[in-house]
Every structure is written in structure tokens, then in C-alpha cells.
């Protein structure tokens, strides 16, 4: 798909979204290039998840256009929209695993619906995918209620990757994980992104993730993107919110550690 020139995986133009008389996203525009990891930050309730949900079509927008992989989602008919949905994977904040299916069946689910494979092959591929995200063979038969928080996220990631998508949406992938698991998860995302050539759109609160994983960072405040660029640009920014976020007290605590890790 992606040629030598980097094309846009996601193109959002002048999107307005709101609930009742409250406008959450106010003429917001953002580009995500193919093959990059874009970290998306903002205060609690600033509308980060709303943007993610608007892009994937769970929340209707009031104005603007959204293009994913070069297709405008509004002009597609149902079949084309289904086809584009198969080319992206979504990791929800709480995992959203189907509670009545085992970990492996959760991964098999999308394959069963979309690919014409035998049961044995599906089981083998699903187990492979689960092994790729770091699950042992014993864990693949467990029900979601028997999985720990970290494992739930891993299974959810494997499910998001079930159909080998080109774009991956992650909604707070490391929230609720301890720092060690979170760091592991960051590395996992980075590795998978490189091997599979994914484009990743990641909503996060985790400063360490932003440091270690993201190619570019976008900051959402007052319904608009107030800053976008690599970490270095964030640290230079003069916007008060960006300043307090990246150079605040917690950032000061975390920065020496992560920068020493990455060197």
C-alpha cells in the first residue's frame, strides 16, 4: 500500500463533535502519517477518546471530514465501510474482550467472520498471535475473567491485530498497568509496529510511553490541537498546558529515567 513517499493513514479535517450544547472537538484537524506512532495527549475530559471514537465511527460528528487509508468514511457504502473496518484494529481501554469466549476464541472471532479458514488453522494462527503478544500456551484457553489486567490488554491487542490491520487505534493501552508491565507493553507495541509496519494512533496519559514509543505527539486542549511534533518540540513549546504537562513535577520525575533508558 504505502509507496516510497509517506502517505497519510488518517486525515482529519475541521471535525466538530459535541454532546448536547457542549462542543468537545471544535474544528479539529490532524494528520497521521503511514508507519508512524502518534501519541495523543490531553487533560482528562478534553476529548481524546472522543476523537478516537469519532474517527472509528462510534460517535457521530457534526461537521468535517475524516479519511482513513485514503477513503472518506462518509461517502462509503456499507460494504466498503466494512472493508475499511477490517483494515484497522482497535484496543479499547478496558480491553472489551467478549466475556463468554476464551482468549483464543476472542482472537479467532474476527477470522471466523472474515476469512475462510479451517478450525485447526484458525486455532494455530490465533495461538501464534497470542504468543507474539507474550501469552503462554496455557493462558490461551482462559476466560477473560481469569486473566490479569496486563494479560487482558495483551489479549485485546492480539484481537485488534487478528486480521493484520494497517492502522491500530489504542485507547490508553498502559492505563491500569504497573510500571514494569507498562514498559513491557510499550516495547511490545514498538516491536509489533516495526515488524508489521503498522500505523499507530495512541491515546495515552503515560509520559513514559510518550517518551519511549511515540514518533510524534499531538496535544489536545480546548477542542483543538495546540501542539504537534516530536518530544523535543513538546519540551520547547510555550503553550501553558503543554509546558505544565511535559515539564511539570511528574514529568521531571520521569524524564531522567526514560532518557537514560533510551540511550
Amino acid at each position: 500500500m504505502g509507496g516510497g513517499v509517506k502517505s497519510l493513514a488518517i486525515k482529519v479535517r475541521d471535525v466538530v463533535t459535541g454532546f448536547g450544547d457542549r462542543v468537545v472537538l471544535d474544528h479539529l484537524s490532524i494528520d497521521v502519517q503511514q508507519g508512524e506512532i502518534l501519541g495523543f495527549v490531553g487533560g482528562s475530559g478534553s476529548g481524546k477518546s472522543v476523537l478516537l471514537r469519532t474517527i472509528i465511527g462510534l460517535i457521530p460528528k457534526r461537521a468535517g471530514t475524516i479519511e482513513v487509508l485514503g477513503r472518506n468514511l462518509d461517502t462509503l457504502d456499507d460494504n466498503e465501510r466494512q472493508a475499511i473496518r477490517r483494515r484497522w484494529g482497535v484496543l479499547f481501554q478496558q480491553g472489551a474482550l467478549f466475556s463468554s469466549l476464551t482468549a483464543r476464541q476472542n482472537v479467532e472471532f474476527a477470522m471466523r467472520e472474515n476469512l475462510n479458514l479451517t478450525d485447526a488453522h484458525m486455532a494455530s494462527i490465533a495461538t501464534t498471535k497470542l504468543a507474539m503478544v507474550g501469552l503462554t500456551a496455557q493462558d490461551t484457553g482462559k476466560m477473560p475473567s481469569e486473566l490479569s489486567g496486563g494479560m487482558t490488554k495483551r489479549v485485546a491487542l492480539a484481537r485488534a491485530l487478528a486480521l493484520d490491520p494497517e492502522v491500530l487505534f489504542l485507547d490508553e493501552p498502559t492505563s491500569g498497568l504497573d510500571p514494569i508491565s507498562a514498559a513491557d507493553f510499550d516495547i511490545l507495541i514498538r516491536t509489533l509496529q516495526r515488524t508489521l509496519g503498522l500505523t499507530v494512533f495512541m491515546v495515552t496519559h503515560d509520559l513514559a510511553s510518550l517518551h519511549t514509543v511515540c514518533d510524534r505527539i499531538a496535544v489536545l486542549a480546548e477542542g483543538k490541537i495546540v501542539a504537534i511534533g516530536p518530544m523535543a518540540a513538546m519540551l520547547q513549546s510555550d503553550h501553558p498546558w503543554v509546558k505544565s504537562y511535559f515539564r511539570g513535577r511528574r514529568a521531571a520525575l520521569i524524564e531522567p529515567r526514560t532518557s537514560s533508558q533510551s540511550h
Binding site: H121, S124, T127, T128, M132, P144, E146, L161, L163, G197
Partner: protein
């Protein structure tokens, strides 16, 4: 020509040539091609040329590994050449991930699975009964603790549940028992008239309603209406760790949650049974008047003769026991709920089915007992 995988002979040596898109949508075709490859007759090694592969995803990498595995199991070796640089990382990752993949344990045959299922269900019935008795004991001991120290008894909660279980159920219980009373009466007149036994329809209605139908109908309604809601409530509390939270605060979930619910049901079901029976008798009377041509005065007079205090007592004494069974089953099933949404649904169904079953069994036991003592 454009096959994804083909077997050719180059320089008198067998060789495999891969082409095109080794991706998810072609996986089935690839799998068929891989199993269809002929066994080598000459040297046990061949080259797989991957240079013609333009696209490769996890599925393609899996197929490649599958091919190598298949040939290896035949005692052959495959040498992979020409794999594009951009795919090597992915292939390595997949091969690595599959190394730890064990061979699937053979599935049990359908008959064996059925036999195992029957055995498991049977042994579970025993554990289930023990669990119910356990629950009964826990509620009983909580009740005695409450009697010793009345301040620990949750009166407000009990009243709240009586309101939900009894007061709010009155309209539907009255309606249903009324209709059943009408139907019994109509059918009675229709069939009894054939041999001139109109007069005895009233006896039938009276004994049937007061002794059996009133209490049984009410118990079944309550099991479906309140038992299921108890199970669902307790189950979702259990799912969201609310019950664990209660115990860690030093409160006994049995005293706080179960006892008020059980007591509420024991208070409510006799009241509903009385109201339901009256409503059924009323319905029967109306139909007797409109359809059977029996004046209300005669109907009431005959009712007075037919219903003895014993009949009434037999009906009423069963009510609290049935309530206890329904409440205990509902609470026990609620506490059995595990994490998933499916288990909540399963236990709610089990609660209703089991309590209705046990209510009918209990009714049978009572019938045998009352026959034995002659009332």
C-alpha cells in the same frame, strides 16, 4: 502461472516457487497448496524461492512456517531463499512465536464428551444440594444472631424488599390468579354440566384454589419475578466485587444482603397467596354467575360449605416454606456468579428453573404428608 506456490524442476532439481500476495485472504488457498505438495522422490531437500512474493503478513509468515513444518515432518529439508529484507523480521517473529506452540491435545469424541457431561452434571447435583443446605444454615444462623441481638437485623432493608416483592407484585398476582379462577370455573361448568354435576363445580374451585393452585401459582410467579431479580442483583454485586467489599468492612454479606431478602419473601408469599386465592375465588364466582347461571348468593353459600379451615390452613402453611426455597435458591445462585456476563445469565436461568422445580417437589411432599395425617 500465477500460482501462489508451485513445484518446478530447475537444473534437474525440484524447487518450490512462491509468488504473489501471501496474505490473510489467500491463506486458505495456500494451506491447500501446502498439503497438496507431492513427496519428493529423489534428494530430500529443495529450495523455496520467495523472491516473487510481493506482500506478506502474519498469515503469510504462518503459512511459510507451516510449509517448513510439513516438509520437516516428512523428513525433508526446505531452504528458503530470496525472502525480501522487509519481511524477514516478521517471519522470524512468527517462527519464534510458534516454537513454544504445543501440539493440540486430541479432542474427546462426541460420545465421550457426552458421557463426561452427564457424569459432571450428576455429581454437580450433589454438590448443589450441599451448597443449598449450606446457604440455609448460614441464613438460619444469621437469623438466630439477629434474634439474640435485634439491633443487627436490617429492618429497613427488609421492609424495602417486602415493598418490592409483595406490594408491587399485587396487581399482576391478582390479575393472573383471577384469570386462572375464571378458566377453572368455566371449564368446570362446561364439563360437569354434561352429567348434571353443576353444583359440585364450586367444591372443585374451592379445594383446588385454596389448597393447591393459589399457593403454587403465586410461588411460581414469585420465583420468576423476585427470585430472578435477587439472583441478578446479587450476581452483579458479586461481579463488581461489592460483596467482597462488604466482607472486608467487617460486615457479613449474609446478614446484610441475604437475610433481609429471605425474610421479605417469607413475609410476602403468604400475603400474596391469600390475596391470590381470594382473587381466584372471585373470578370463579363471576364466571359461575355469567356463564354457569349460578347466583352469587348460592356460590358464596356453597363456598362456605366446601372450604373448611383445614383446607385453608393446608394452603397457607405451604406458602412460607415455598418462599424459603425460592429465596435460598435465588441467593445461592446469585453468589455463584463469576466474572462473565454469560455466567450471570446462566445463574439467573438456573435460579428460576431450580426454584420452580423445588417448589413443585415440595408441594408433592406436602401432599403426601397431609394425606398421611388425613387432612
Amino acid at each position: 502461472m500465477t500460482g501462489l506456490l508451485s513445484s518446478v524442476v530447475a537444473n534437474h532439481k525440484p524447487m518450490l516457487v512462491a509468488r504473489g500476495a501471501w496474505t490473510a485472504r489467500n491463506t486458505r488457498e495456500l494451506a491447500a497448496l501446502i498439503t497438496g505438495l507431492p513427496k519428493l522422490s529423489g534428494p530430500q531437500s529443495q529450495i523455496l524461492d520467495m523472491s516473487g512474493v510481493e506482500e506478506l503478513d502474519t498469515y503469510g509468515a504462518w503459512s511459510l512456517d507451516q510449509l517448513i513444518r510439513a516438509r520437516t515432518s516428512l523428513g525433508e529439508t526446505v531452504e528458503v531463499t530470496g525472502l525480501a529484507q522487509r519481511f524477514t523480521g516478521l517471519v522470524e517473529t512468527v517462527v519464534q512465536a510458534r516454537k513454544e506452540q504445543p501440539i493440540e491435545p486430541p479432542r474427546e469424541s462426541a460420545i465421550a464428551a457426552w458421557v463426561i457431561d452427564v457424569g459432571r452434571t450428576t455429581s454437580e447435583a450433589g454438590t448443589d444440594l450441599k451448597y443449598l443446605l449450606n446457604m440455609l444454615g448460614a441464613v438460619g444462623s444469621a437469623l438466630f444472631a439477629g434474634l439474640k441481638k435485634p439491633s443487627t437485623f436490617r429492618l429497613t432493608s427488609t421492609v424495602h424488599h417486602v415493598d418490592r416483592v409483595a406490594w408491587k407484585a399485587v396487581p399482576i398476582i391478582l390479575l393472573i390468579t383471577f384469570l386462572i379462577g375464571c378458566i377453572i370455573s368455566q371449564q368446570g361448568f362446561f364439563h360437569f354440566r354434561k352429567f348434571g354435576a353443576d353444583q359440585y363445580v364450586v367444591d372443585m374451585i374451592a379445594i383446588l384454589v385454596v389448597r393447591e393452585i393459589g399457593v403454587l401459582l403465586v410461588a411460581i410467579m414469585v420465583a420468576g419475578r423476585s427470585g430472578s431479580s435477587y439472583t441478578a442483583e446479587l450476581g452483579s454485586m458479586k461481579m463488581r466485587e461489592e460483596i467482597d467489599a462488604l466482607s472486608t468492612m467487617g460486615l457479613d454479606p449474609v446478614t446484610v444482603l441475604l437475610l433481609p431478602r429471605v425474610m421479605a419473601l417469607i413475609i410476602s408469599v403468604p400475603i400474596l397467596t391469600f390475596l391470590g386465592s381470594m382473587s381466584a375465588l372471585y373470578g370463579g364466582g363471576l364466571v359461575a354467575w355469567a356463564y354457569g347461571g349460578m347466583s352469587p348468593d348460592i356460590y358464596i353459600a356453597r363456598l362456605q360449605e366446601a372450604i373448611t379451615l383445614d383446607h385453608f390452613k393446608v394452603g397457607m402453611i405451604k406458602a412460607p416454606f415455598m418462599a424459603l426455597v425460592i429465596a435460598i435458591v435465588a441467593c445461592a445462585e446469585g453468589l455463584k456468579v463469576r466474572g462473565s456476563a454469560e455466567s450471570l445469565g446462566l445463574q439467573t436461568t438456573a435460579s428460576v428453573v431450580k426454584s420452580i422445580f423445588l417448589v413443585i417437589v415440595l408441594d408433592g411432599l406436602f401432599a403426601m404428608y397431609f394425606t398421611a395425617i388425613g387432612i
